[in-house]
């Protein structure tokens, strides 16, 4: 009985010391543990819910404010600016050239924003680097023609009431993915009330399933 015995001896002594600290009667340790637990839990839980979403997105202001409501009033509809080209592709955000159908480098109104537009973009013949809220990633193919022409949908169904807005809200970009926050939606779990609250693949699939009976094949929406 030598080595093993000795070692066991030591072992049990170590154990004995530790078990003293763990003595159930001495419950300050446990109590403190619980307090620390609750504290850490609350901090992490709350930062996970409240701070994390703020940190995840960076905010960008548009180059200048754009009044959709005013423009809709002047032009009468969305299609004047956001139209299908003759080949069926979608024009998207208008180029400065299209704006020149109405605008000149002399402002028409009196807003500061139009002055910026006239001076910085029209006069200098530059494109406005708009942030596009509804910008899908490069792997996505989306046909506006299919939805507008073939399915007869209107803009509001997916884009909401953006035409009624008088000012441009900040664009929020996911720092990790580069996605616009509008794609995932404002709610961090992706819970939505209106179709335009989020623009994920699953959102497309739900509607496609309802309307066509099938989610579609890969290439229908991917390129």
């Amino acid at each position: 009985m030598s080595e093993i015995e000795n070692k066991t001896e030591h072992g049990s002594m170590d154990g004995a010391k530790e078990s003293a600290a763990e003595d159930p009667k001495n419950d300050t340790g446990l109590g403190l543990g619980v307090i620390f637990f609750i504290l850490a839990f609350l901090i992490c839980f709350l930062s996970g819910w409240l701070l994390f979403p703020k940190l995840l997105y960076s905010k960008h202001e548009q180059p200048f404010n754009f009044d959709h409501a005013l423009h809709v009033q002047e032009t009468g509809d969305c299609e004047s600016c956001h139209f299908l080209r003759e080949d069926g592709t979608f024009s998207g955000i208008p180029k400065t050239e299209s704006c020149l159908d109405c605008h000149t480098d002399e402002p028409m109104g009196e807003t500061e924003d139009e002055a910026i537009f006239a001076a910085e973009y029209v006069a200098k013949q530059r494109e406005v680097p708009w942030y596009v809220y509804a910008k899908q990633p490069d792997c996505v193919y989306f046909s506006h023609a299919a939805h507008i022409k073939a399915a007869g949908m209107d803009c509001v169904t997916c884009h909401g009431h953006i035409g009624e807005s008088t000012s441009s809200r900040p664009y929020e970009e996911n720092r990790l993915t580069g996605y616009s926050r509008d794609i995932w939606g404002n709610n961090i779990w992706g819970i939505t009330k209106n179709p335009w609250d989020s623009m994920k693949m699953d959102d497309c699939a739900v509607c496609h399933e309802e309307e066509t009976g099938h989610k579609g094949y890969c290439f229908q929406c991917h390129k």
């Binding site: 299908l84 003759e86 080949d87 069926g88 592709t89 990633p137 490069d138 792997c139 193919y141 046909s143 023609a145 299919a146 022409k149 073939a150 066509t212 009976g213 099938h214 579609g216 094949y217 890969c218 290439f219 229908q220 991917h222 390129k223």
Partner: protein, 285 residues
Amino acid sequence: MIQDKKAHKFGMVIDLDKCTGCGSCTVSCMAENNIPFKEDESDKKDSLTWMRVYKLTNGKPFPETQTAYLPRPCQHCGGKGDHGHSPCVSVCPATATDYGYDTGIVSQIYTRCFGCRYCMAACPYHARYFNWWDPVWPEGMEKYLSPNVSPRMRGVVEKCSFCYHRYQLAREQAYFDETDEIPEDAYQTACTTACPAGAIIFGDLNNPSHKIHQIVKPDPHPDPLNHDVVGKSRNPKVFRLLERLGTNPKVYYMSEREWVRKLGDSYLEGEWDKVKNHHGAASHD
């Protein structure tokens, strides 16, 4: 499955007697589909070429030697019995590739693929390629990239799509014109339009007015000799690659030369002579 009233079945027939092996189809495909290139592309087993041109030879010594070229895009297999269970589609664990019952095209989501490469193992045509490297273009050259096809990232599998984006463009035009019809020439793949020899014909195998239908005359019934085989050509000059495996490709080949046709499949000794005049159920009528 979409039970389209008028489901298309896009396919291709390549005239191997006209094919000159020039490589225009390959380059057109690469330019159309944003396929990158590396410093050394001589390792052909690690070289992204959705459309690859194989060189065939009859194996005879000088001066009896004969050669031919065989361009090989993705075969867009319908799978056994043409039910849409293509060899690659059925094995993808993440549903990153599927069979379009409305077009017959095997489509993919590159961004869903996580690079297990099972589909490559499944494809006997080596039509699927893995992005072993990040796609990198020399400085400035990325300016010619097309937005109609997304450049693929490292670590995913890709393959010929029958230029599906051209189908999408043709459909957008049709939507705009408010018509259901997509004319034959409105949707043609990049290799087809590029081929200087006019060796590639592309169209809807289901549409009797399309040239491909008239050339291939696909047999709608299963082959009595092998029930997995559907759509066998009733044209004696037309064959498919590895038809006996039951993959049911939608790419057909055409040649006057018997030795070329024989190379389409494997045959036991003496077997070719028995089956070479068998062209689907029709030849039993």
